[in-house]
Symmetry: C2
Subunit: 428 residues, 2 copies
C-alpha cells in the first residue's frame, strides 16, 4: 500500500474518480444502514428470552431474606441480586446498592444529589461559583451530557493506550479544588476499547485531590463484555485499591445488566464505600420506596450466580466477535498503510474508535450518510460535541446483521478515502 | 353512650381499672400486629399473579409502534401503556409521560429538577432565598419528606371535608411569590379519604399564583381505588379544568399502578400540559435512555384496557371493604358518642384518619405498641413530623388479615380509651 500523501495530484484525482464510481454504485442501492448506536442485536436479545419464563404465576416470589418481592419493602436491593451484581462488579455484597434499570440514571442522580446536597456533608455544588469535571477524550457522550446539563465545566484529558493522561489528571486534581470528578469507562472504554493499565489504576487510587468531595466516576459498563475467550483485558478493582491507599471514599463504581440481559429492562447498581453508601441511602429513602424487586429476582434466578452470567456473556461474544472482525478486517484491508486513519482493535466492549486525518470526521460521517449509512455524529465523543481536531468517529458494529455490516464497512472506508483525498488535494 | 367528659373522677377511675384489665389480657397474648403502612395484603397481590405469565419466552415483544421492547429506544413510554395510564388518569394520551416504577420518584425528580433548573425557564429554586410549599394537613408523610429534604419551607393548610381550606390557599398563593407548590392527594386523600369537591377543584384551577412557576402537585394515587361499587366519589379532572381557566401549565398530575398490580413493580406516570412535558423531556433525555418497556408491555397486555383495570380494582375492593368495615364498625361501636375521638368513613383509598383529643395521639400510638400493635408514628401526617395538636393518627387496615384486624382494632380503641381517661383525669 502506498500512503495517500505520497500520491501525486493526478494519481489522487484518478483514484477519486474510481472511488466515486464505486460510491455511486453503493448509493444507488438506496441502503438504510446504522452503525451509530451501541445496541445489542436481535440475535443477542434472543439469548435472554428464557428469562421471561423464570417468574411465573405459580412461582414463589419470596426472596432469600423472606420478603415478598411483589410488595413494598427493601430499599437498596434484594440479597441475591446484590450478590450477583457484587460478583459481577468484583466488590463485597455490602458495598452494593441496586437501583432501577439504568446505571446512567444512577450517575445522573449522583451528580444531581451532589449539586443540591453536596457529597458526604460538603457544600452543595450548586452553591459553588465553579464546578469542573475531567473528561478523558474521546469518551461517552451521555456522561458529558449530564455534566453539561448541570453547568459543570468540562476539561478534556487525552486518552492514551493505557488510559487517561495521568500526569495531567494528577496535576489538575491535586491543584484545583473546583475539580469534583472525572468520568471514566475503565474497561473496553467507550469508544476506544482501551482498558486502563495497572499503573493507571494505581495512580488513580493514589490521587490526592484538592477537593475533599472529588469523586472518580468509574463507569465499568463493559466489565465482563469480552470478545475473545483467550484474549481478555484485566482491570484492577478500584474500590479495594482506593481503600488500600487510604482513600476509600474517592470512587463511585457503576454497572448494569443492560448489555447482558435486556437494555432498558435490566438492573443497575452502584458500588462504593460504606460512608458513600450511607450518604446515598439518605437520599434514596426520600426519593423512592424501592426499586423493582421482581426484576431483581428474575435476574438473580435466571443467572443463578456469576458463573451463569459469565457463560451467558460467551454467547454474546460469539455473536459480536464476527461483527467486530468484519469491521476491523475491512479497515485493515482497505485503509491499512494509507496514512489516512488509525484505529485500535478492542478485546471487548461495544465500539471501535476511528481517527481520521484532522478536519475530516464530520465530512466522513456526512458522506456515509449520503450513501445511507448512519454513524454516530462526529464530535459526539467530546464534551460539548466539539472534537478539536474533528477526527474521531465512533463505530458501533453490534446492531446490524453480518450482511448489513459488510456493506456498512465498505461504505465507511469509501467515505474515509474520498474525504481524505479531498483534504489532500487542497494542499497539492 | 355517655361522653367520657360527663363522667366523674370516680367513674373514670373505675372505667380505667376495667379497661386496664382488658388491656393486660390482650398484652398477655404477645401479639405482633401492624396497621402502620398502606401496603396491599398478600391476598391482593395474588390477584395480579397472572400478570407473571403475560410475557413469555415465546411472546412477541414488539409494541404497537413496532419497537422491540427488549432493546433501547422510546424515551417516554410505549403507546399502549400510555393509552392505559391516560385512561386511568383521565387525560389525553399525548399528555402522559411514563417513568419507572414509582410516582414518588417522579415527584422527587420534579422537585429536584425545579431546584437545579427551574420550571419552564424560571430561576432555579436553589438560587432563591426562600422556597415554600403549601401542605394540606393531615397529609402524606413522604410528600413532606421530599420538600423537607430540599430545604423547602412547609406551611400547614388545614383540610376540610371538601379539601384544603381554599380561602387560605388562594390568599397565600396569590400574594407570596416564594410559594412554588402545593401537595395534594385529591381523591380518597391520605390519610382522611376525603375527595376534593367540585368547588375546591374549580378554585384550584382558578388560582392566580404570584409565582409564575407555581405548580399544583396533584398526586392522584387513589383515582380508581374505590371501596364500594354503589358509593363512589367523583373528582373533576384538573388538567382540563386548568386549561379551561387559562392556566394549562399550573398542574402536574401523578399516578401509578403500585396498588393496582404490584407495589414496586408497577409503572408510574406524570400527566401535564405539552409545555410542561417538553420541559420534563429535556431532563429525561439526559437522565436516562428510557424506562422498563417490558414492564410497560406486561401491564398493557395484562389489563388490555381501562375496563380490564376497573374490573381488576373491584377485586381489590372486595378484599379491602371488609377490612375497612371491621375498623369502622369497631370505632363506631366502641368510641361512638364518647367524645374522645372523631373519624371519617372513606369510600376509597387506603386509610382511615383518626383524631383523638388534643395531646393524646403520641400516647395512644405508644400504648398500642405496648400491646403489640404498630401504628403509623403520631405526627407523621404533618410536615416535620409535628402535629400541633398531637391528635391525628393514620390507620392502615389493608395489610393485616381480617382476624388480625379484629384484634388490632380492639387494641386501638382500648388504647384510645385509656389514654383519653388519663387526659381527662388530669383536670378532674
Amino acid at each position: 500500500m502506498v500512503a495517500y500523501e505520497e500520491l501525486s495530484k493526478e494519481e489522487l484525482l484518478q483514484l477519486k474518480s474510481d472511488l466515486e464510481a464505486q460510491f455511486e454504485d453503493v448509493k444507488a442501492q438506496n441502503l438504510h444502514l446504522d452503525m451509530s448506536r451501541g445496541k445489542p442485536s436481535t440475535e443477542q436479545l434472543n439469548l435472554s428470552m428464557d428469562m421471561m419464563d423464570v417468574l411465573r404465576s405459580d412461582s414463589d416470589l419470596v426472596c432469600e431474606e423472606g420478603v415478598d418481592c411483589r410488595n413494598y419493602g427493601v430499599l437498596d436491593g434484594i440479597a441475591e441480586a446484590k450478590q450477583l451484581l457484587a460478583d459481577m462488579m468484583e466488590v463485597p455484597k455490602d458495598n452494593i446498592v441496586i437501583f432501577g434499570n439504568s446505571s446512567l440514571n444512577i450517575m445522573y442522580d449522583t451528580i444531581a444529589r451532589s449539586m443540591t446536597h453536596g457529597v458526604m456533608g460538603s457544600t452543595p455544588w450548586a452553591k459553588l461559583d465553579k464546578v469542573k469535571f475531567l473528561c478523558p477524550v474521546p469518551g461517552y457522550d451521555r456522561h458529558f451530557a449530564i455534566t453539561e446539563y448541570f453547568g459543570i465545566e468540562m476539561i478534556n484529558v487525552p486518552m492514551t493506550p493505557t488510559g487517561p493522561d495521568m500526569d495531567m489528571v494528577e496535576e489538575l486534581v491535586s491543584t484545583d479544588p473546583a475539580i469534583k470528578g472525572i468520568w471514566c469507562v475503565p474497561k473496553y472504554s467507550n469508544p476506544q476499547g482501551i482498558t486502563y493499565s495497572d499503573e493507571t489504576v494505581h495512580r488513580f487510587a493514589k490521587l490526592n485531590p484538592a477537593a475533599k468531595d472529588f469523586r472518580i466516576f468509574w463507569d465499568n459498563a463493559y466489565g465482563i463484555h469480552h470478545l475473545y475467550e483467550d484474549k481478555q483485558d484485566y482491570l484492577i478493582e478500584i474500590l479495594m485499591e482506593c481503600k488500600k491507599e487510604g482513600h476509600p471514599d474517592m470512587v463511585y463504581k457503576f454497572s448494569s445488566t443492560s448489555k447482558i440481559s435486556f437494555p432498558g429492562s435490566g438492573i443497575a447498581a452502584i458500588a462504593a464505600s460504606d460512608a458513600n453508601l450511607a450518604d446515598i441511602r439518605k437520599q434514596m429513602r426520600i426519593q423512592t420506596i424501592g426499586h423493582d424487586k421482581l426484576n431483581q429476582l428474575r435476574h438473580a434466578r435466571y443467572f443463578g450466580n456469576i458463573h451463569g452470567m459469565v457463560q451467558h456473556m460467551k454467547k454474546h461474544a460469539d455473536i459480536l466477535r464476527p461483527k467486530f472482525d468484519i469491521v476491523l478486517n475491512t479497515l485493515d484491508k482497505e485503509l491499512g498503510g494509507l496514512g489516512i486513519g488509525s484505529w485500535l482493535a478492542p478485546r471487548g466492549g461495544y465500539f471501535i474508535s476511528f481517527d481520521s486525518m484532522d478536519g475530516c470526521a464530520k465530512a466522513i460521517v456526512a458522506k456515509a450518510k449520503d450513501a445511507g449509512l448512519v454513524m454516530t455524529g462526529a464530535g459526539a465523543t467530546f464534551p460539548y460535541g466539539k472534537d478539536p481536531k474533528d477526527s474521531n468517529i465512533r463505530i458501533a458494529p453490534s446492531y446490524p446483521t453480518v450482511k448489513e455490516l459488510k456493506l456498512a464497512a465498505k461504505i465507511f472506508v469509501l467515505s474515509v478515502k474520498l474525504v481524505s483525498i479531498d483534504k489532500l488535494l487542497q494542499t497539492k
